[in-house]
């Protein structure tokens, strides 16, 4: 199809109606923001790139252009700090892309006979639709801006503990004594927490995002989520002040949205990342020198651990235990150390299933870990 510039813009805005309707139905600001972002990027590409480079756009071009726009949208979403869950963000993009194809190839040509020869222009209906989409988006974004959670900027060192009881963003600074979150839709980023029992303690809340937080010298857990849905990205937990510290602990959160721990670096704790009765995606983390286990997926959890690196764990690198169901793939476990002579389950086992657990294991790299990959006590490892 040879689009005119106006045709590209009208077609894009017209085809955005289903995605926009879904975003409105979701009743989440991030959804509106994401659709606005997709459209803004698309319009910039239409104006600056596509119109010039594609005088004729064959049908197959929808695939590479769709992949390009997905990548750009994802990057822009991260850069803009839009807290959309990955699954929903992909679903929303998928709906937008699919409806774009459906509209361009079936709906618009059906509704407007001249659609193709008019270069994608939709006529009066197109102007009205484009205006309606623009008004909805501007209105939605305006409303989102007006009711957005307040941002609290921390400067210098603040004496805690800080208790968060409303939806807000907490950013920057150093907090002594920990942060307690008792509200949903909270975002904490670029904060350093020093001391306290728990670095950041999230209880009975969901849609909590912890991004680029650093926790040092805590005595129990670096980050604890209890009955909560959290997204933890790019955290750093180190220098524990006692022998019982877990880096990230997510427990009893099965009734909450799935949690994610990704890109974190955890060093010297008792356990690096531990889950109990939760659904957690543990991916791309670096866990070093733990004294009991590197990563624990336990107590009837349904977890995935992928792309993690566990180094120098005493006893066990990654364990799936206690009736849990786990997928453990593409991890690297190196130098798991033997912990005493008595207990074979702690003989430097790189990946372990223990006590009625089921672990699906694939594409992992195990280096210098004498216990290898093993199942104990009525557990099952499948490859």
């Amino acid at each position: 199809m040879s689009y005119t510039l106006r045709g590209r813009i009208e077609s894009r805005l017209g085809a955005a109606v289903p995605a926009l309707a879904l975003a409105v139905a979701l009743q989440r600001w991030w959804a509106i923001e994401l659709v606005a972002l997709m459209l803004a990027l698309g319009l910039v590409l239409d104006l600056c790139v596509y119109h010039r480079l594609l005088p004729y756009q064959p049908g197959w071009a929808a695939l590479p252009l769709g992949a390009l726009e997905l990548g750009l949208t994802w990057s822009a979403m991260r850069a803009a700090g839009i807290g959309a869950p990955l699954g929903w963000a992909l679903a929303l993009y998928g709906v937008a892309w699919a409806s774009g194809q459906l509209c361009a190839h079936a709906v618009f040509p059906r509704l407007r006979l001249e659609y193709a020869e008019a270069g994608g222009e939709l006529g009066r209906a197109g102007v009205v639709t484009a205006a309606a989409v623009a008004v909805t988006l501007v209105g939605g974004l305006g409303a989102a801006y007006a009711v957005r959670p307040p941002t609290v900027h921390l400067h210098g060192v603040v004496q805690g503990p800080i208790v968060v009881t409303r939806s807000e963003r907490l950013t920057g600074g150093v907090v002594r004594g920990g942060i307690v979150v008792h509200a949903s839709h909270v975002r904490i980023d670029h904060v350093t927490v020093v001391g306290g029992e728990y670095g950041i303690d999230v209880e009975h809340a969901d849609h909590v995002m912890l991004d680029h937080v650093r926790v040092v010298r805590v005595s129990l857990d670096g980050i604890r989520a209890l009955d909560a849905g959290v997204m933890v990205h790019d955290c750093s937990i180190s220098a524990p002040s006692g022998p019982f510290v877990t880096g990230v602990l997510i427990s009893y959160s099965m009734g909450r949205p799935m949690s994610m721990v990704s890109g974190c670096t955890i060093a010297g704790t008792r356990e690096g990342i531990a889950t109990h009765s939760s659904m957690v995606n543990v991916m791309g983390n670096h866990v070093v020198d733990t004294t009991v286990r590197g990563i624990l997926l336990g107590e009837m959890s349904m977890d995935m651990a992928s792309g993690n690196t566990v180094e120098g764990a005493r006893g066990i690198g990654i364990v799936c235990m206690d009736h849990s169901t786990c997928e453990i793939e593409h991890n690297t476990v190196a130098a798991a150390r033997v912990d005493g002579d008595e207990d074979p389950t702690r003989h430097g086992v790189a990946i372990e299933a223990f006590f009625y657990a089921e672990a699906k294991v694939a594409h992992n790299t195990v280096v210098a870990s004498p216990g290898g990959v093993r199942a104990f006590d009525n557990s099952l490892i499948t490859r």
Binding site: M1, S2, Y3, T4, G7, P55, Y56, P58, G59, W60, H105, A106, V107, P109, R110, L113, E114, Y115, A116, E117, A118, G119, E121
Partner: protein
């Protein structure tokens, strides 16, 4: 829905059927449309030509059908998953049989037969708020789609008993000269080779390889805007250039020729020499002057013309005879001044849609 008003379509080929189906889709009742033509079956002229050159695939793509909306296209009707994949890559060319079956369905569903009147129209003349068609009544809106005026044959071959036009029924002798370098000629090369003949291609220039009759941008507003904005001289020059023979690129065309060339069964020469049979794949005579109806229309109303084309507005209407009350439009090859690919299905639908806009607006 359009309020009722009498319309006439002069001509009864594919362009006429496209126009009729479009009017019906736009809400014009079949009883309000009169189709004047010489054959009740609008597919017959095309069917005969396709049969003569043994054409199996259309040059057009999935949306090259005669129903008013482009969707669903023929690839979807084809039913093969491969057809849909091919259409994504702009490589789907529907089978001629499928195209004709669908055209038959369009004819039946649109009520064509109720509107058809068998008559060769000699004269269309402006009268009052409309037009008289051979003195028959007053039609506010008339679309002339009379098609190609006749087969073209090179003068130097006139009277040669070996000559047959590609679009006339024929078999192949053992040594065949094929004159021309367009789609029909290329099809005939392959046909004659498949029949075991030795083929000599007679052509003045190397054929242009183009997927469709004209470059793709010229099928839509983006390319047409520049075309419509160009000067009459430039436009006529471009149309002449676009009318040079072409056929699509692709292995299915090239490989049989390469093999035959290697076997000494295919070559290019300047003259037929000792060929037993000469197939003239030289298309049609060109220009409105060869169409008695159009020539008379132009002369009687003093319509502007340039080279071999009647000058049309971008929407295929005749500017001197179209206003808020009435419409005279051309479709098919005679409408190239408005749409360079007017002699294709896409061109027929371009004119038809524009005609519908006038019909509905001026009612």
């Amino acid at each position: 829905m359009c309020p009722a008003e009498r319309c006439a379509i002069v001509g009864s080929g594919l362009a006429a059927l496209a126009a009729f189906a479009t009017l019906r889709h736009g809400g014009v009742q079949a009883e309000e449309i009169v189709v004047f033509g010489t054959q009740a079956d609008p597919t017959e002229p095309f069917r005969a030509r396709a049969r003569a050159i043994r054409q199996r695939r259309m040059r057009s793509e999935s949306d090259g059908h005669l129903a008013a909306p482009a969707w669903p296209g023929l690839a979807l009707r084809d039913g093969r998953p491969g057809a849909l994949l091919q259409t994504i890559a702009s490589r789907y060319h529907p089978p001629v049989d499928l195209f004709l079956r669908h055209a038959e369905e369009v004819r039946r569903r649109s009520g064509w037969d109720r509107s058809f009147v068998e008559r060769r129209v000699e004269r269309v003349a402006a009268a009052g708020d409309g037009f008289e068609v051979d003195g028959d009544g007053l039609f506010r809106h008339v679309l002339v789609a009379t098609g190609h005026p006749g087969h073209a044959l090179p003068e130097q071959l006139a009277g040669d008993p070996r000559v047959v036009h590609a679009y006339e029924p024929h078999e192949y002798a053992s040594r065949v000269a094929i004159v021309g370098a367009g789609m029909a000629a290329a099809t005939e090369w392959l046909n004659a080779l498949a029949a075991g003949a030795e083929v000599v291609s007679i052509r003045r220039r190397e054929p242009v390889r183009r997927p469709l009759n004209v470059p793709r941008p010229l099928f839509s507003k983006r390319g047409l805007a520049a075309f419509h904005a160009s000067s009459p001289e430039r436009r006529a020059a471009l149309l002449r250039e676009l009318s040079t023979p072409s056929y699509p690129p692709g292995r299915e065309w090239d490989e049989p020729l390469v093999h035959a060339e290697a076997e000494g069964r295919f070559r290019v020469e300047a003259a037929p020499n000792g060929a037993e049979q000469i197939v003239c794949a030289t298309g049609f005579v060109q220009g409105y002057r060869n169409d008695p109806l159009l020539a008379r229309l132009q002369a009687e109303h003093g319509l502007a013309a340039r080279d071999r084309w009647i000058v049309l507005a971008p929407d295929s209407t005749v500017p001197e005879l179209t206003d808020d009350r009435r419409t005279l439009a051309l479709a098919g090859v005679a409408a190239q001044w408005a749409f360079p690919a007017a002699d294709t299905v896409a061109g027929a639908k371009y004119a038809a849609r524009a005609f519908l806009r006038h019909v509905c607006r001026t009612r």
